[in-house]
Symmetry: C2
Subunit: 338 residues, 2 copies
DNA sequence: CTGAAAGCGCTAACAG
DNA sequence: CTGTTAGCGCTTTCAG
């Protein structure tokens, strides 16, 4: 099948290719008759506009790059789902790249977007990212950029996040109100803003309700299920007094629940548990696990809308960047209802 | 920041832009000294190659389109994760499109890929897709195309699937071997190949082990958790005799488990349960649910490799298309271990 | 080893 | 309302 261009259509109709181009773009100064004729022959010949050529000429690709740590984590795939839905409705296509939580891969992704001349970039940084060099480059080239959830520190850019402080606060406050007093918090050791915020929220709630901060109740590790189990084993072995556990992530909470059950502790009577993320399993396991919902799809839609607004306004780095903060949703379930 | 092109580099070094182009592409007939000089000034000036221009000229975009029903389903996001990983290593970038299970959106996605001059397309069809018109168009244009999991019927194309018949067979066989005799199968009502295969597998196992097929034990609906509950309520209300339930999907199995527990039936002693998909929650709920793993990430990697092979061989529609069928993995858990 | 020149398919300014 | 013309930034022959 020979590739059909506007020139072929022009020859067929004995007009010039620029008339064809205008007709196809629904230019006002083209007669209805010509437009109709052009469209018909275009269809008949099986014409497919070459976006590469038009992008080169116009300088607009209608492509936006999305950079996420990894797509096999439901949080990120949900957000991408939300972004794609909105951007698609607005005529944009998504170029997808996974950083695999590696700073090097992340730079490669941004470079790919830059070479591809994406009209904009939406990202959530990797755990490894330490400096913002790659993102500065985007800014330098005046390409619109927005972040969701994991926002680089010290870079003043538009973003959509949930209020992780509030999330940590709400979960802890709920545990306190349920009568728990010695609340363990399991966090992680890296210096990631959103995770630090959850810890701050935990501390804020303790303070507001006049509970002492006990360093032995704050544990740092990773957010695996196994680490949750480990923590419970350690707490019990060391004979530390506690009556609730709030983890920074649901999988950790799941591990906590498993190990508490294995140790014969009754949930929620003896120990209350709350997680974070609203993973699908939290509402299916027994006991169902209280958690904080991050409104993932909405987050994607919000960042897409924010982005479209940015694209419309032009000079992307002159206005003060808009930072949307979504209110998390506390989901009280069996694991903390006593 | 002015946009830097190879011409700027050429001027800077007082050579022609074609020499610069060759140097950047590591052409063998360019002196090492020139290459070095070119690369240094390219870096210094902040040159970023314009992929749009090179694509237009070369006819290759190094982009492949991935069309999936939706990304907020862990099955699809895992596969995409697998595909992206492999394609990325091989210098390809992913253009992502969600059909949202709509045939119309699906056509739009393919059209977008065609206009974007993607070097190839990988897809999994929507539930709604009835005719293959949109895919014929891809074939007509001699663009490589491969499918995973949901393959259109009557279109002879490369694909990677799991052996759904085997999956249905394995799950049913396992239940039979565990001593269950009146095994209910919950499937769905649409005419989707992979789901029909699971049903066939169920029937095949019954036959092989000399068990009668009882139509009242085969139920068709959707694959929601709620439908699973509904089925159990109906089975019990109608007093139908059964001792195991094999569902085409894990969420349905979850509903089945919940309702059986609510009705005071002991799992697996009185009723055995098996699902399909290996959703994360199946290993976390109580009892843990036996299921069939679909090897999602591998499926993505396989289809990517198949695709790269296709791209290499050229004439995409002359060879007999390769159809890779992965063996599913039966995961026996508590819900069927008696 | 390097240069000159053509052209990929389209957009858009200018001319009529 | 339509035609003419000039590129967008690169790849790729053909020369030298």
């Amino acid at each position: 099948m020979k590739k059909i261009t506007i020139l072929d259509i022009a020859k067929e109709l004995d007009i010039t290719f620029s008339t064809v181009a205008r007709a196809l773009n629904d230019h006002p100064a083209i007669s209805v008759a010509t437009k109709k004729a052009v469209r018909e022959t275009a269809d008949r010949l099986g014409y497919s506009p070459n976006k590469v050529a038009s992008s080169l000429r116009s300088g607009k690709t209608k492509i936006i790059g999305i950079l996420v740590p990894r797509l096999d984590v439901s949080f990120f795939s949900s957000v991408v789902h939300g972004i794609e839905g909105v951007m698609n409705e607005n005529g944009y296509t998504i170029l997808l790249y996974q950083s695999q939580e590696s700073a090097k891969q992340e730079s490669k992704g941004i470079d790919t977007f830059l070479r591809s001349r994406a009209d904009g970039i939406i990202a959530s940084i990797s755990l490894e990212t330490e400096d913002n060099g790659a993102y500065d480059e985007i800014k330098k080239r005046n390409i619109p950029l927005a972040f969701f959830d994991r926002v680089p520190q010290g870079l003043d850019v538009p973003s959509v996040t949930i209020d992780d402080y509030r999330g940590g606060f709400m979960a802890t406050e709920h545990l306190i109100k349920a009568g728990y007093r010695r609340i363990v918090h399991i966090n992680q050791y890296r210096n990631i803003n959103i995770f630090n915020e959850r810890l701050r929220g935990y501390l804020g709630a303790l303070k507001q309700y006049g509970l002492p901060v006990d360093e032995s109740l704050i544990i740092k590790g990773d957010f695996s299920l196994e680490f949750g189990r480990q923590c419970v084993r350690d707490l019990l072995a060391e004979g530390i007094d506690f009556d609730a556990i709030f983890t920074l992530e649901d999988f950790t909470a799941m591990g906590v629940v498993q190990e508490l059950k294995a140790a014969g502790k009754r949930i929620p009577e003896q120990v209350g548990v709350a997680g974070f993320a609203n993973e699908a399993f939290t509402s299916l396991v027994s006991p169902t696990i209280s958690t904080v919902d991050q409104r993932t799809v909405e987050m994607g839609e919000e960042v897409a809308h924010l982005f479209l607004k940015l694209l419309k306004q032009g000079d992307y780095y002159k206005h003060r960047p808009e930072k949307i903060v979504l209110e998390p949703r506390l989901l009280v379930r069996e694991s903390s209802s006593r």
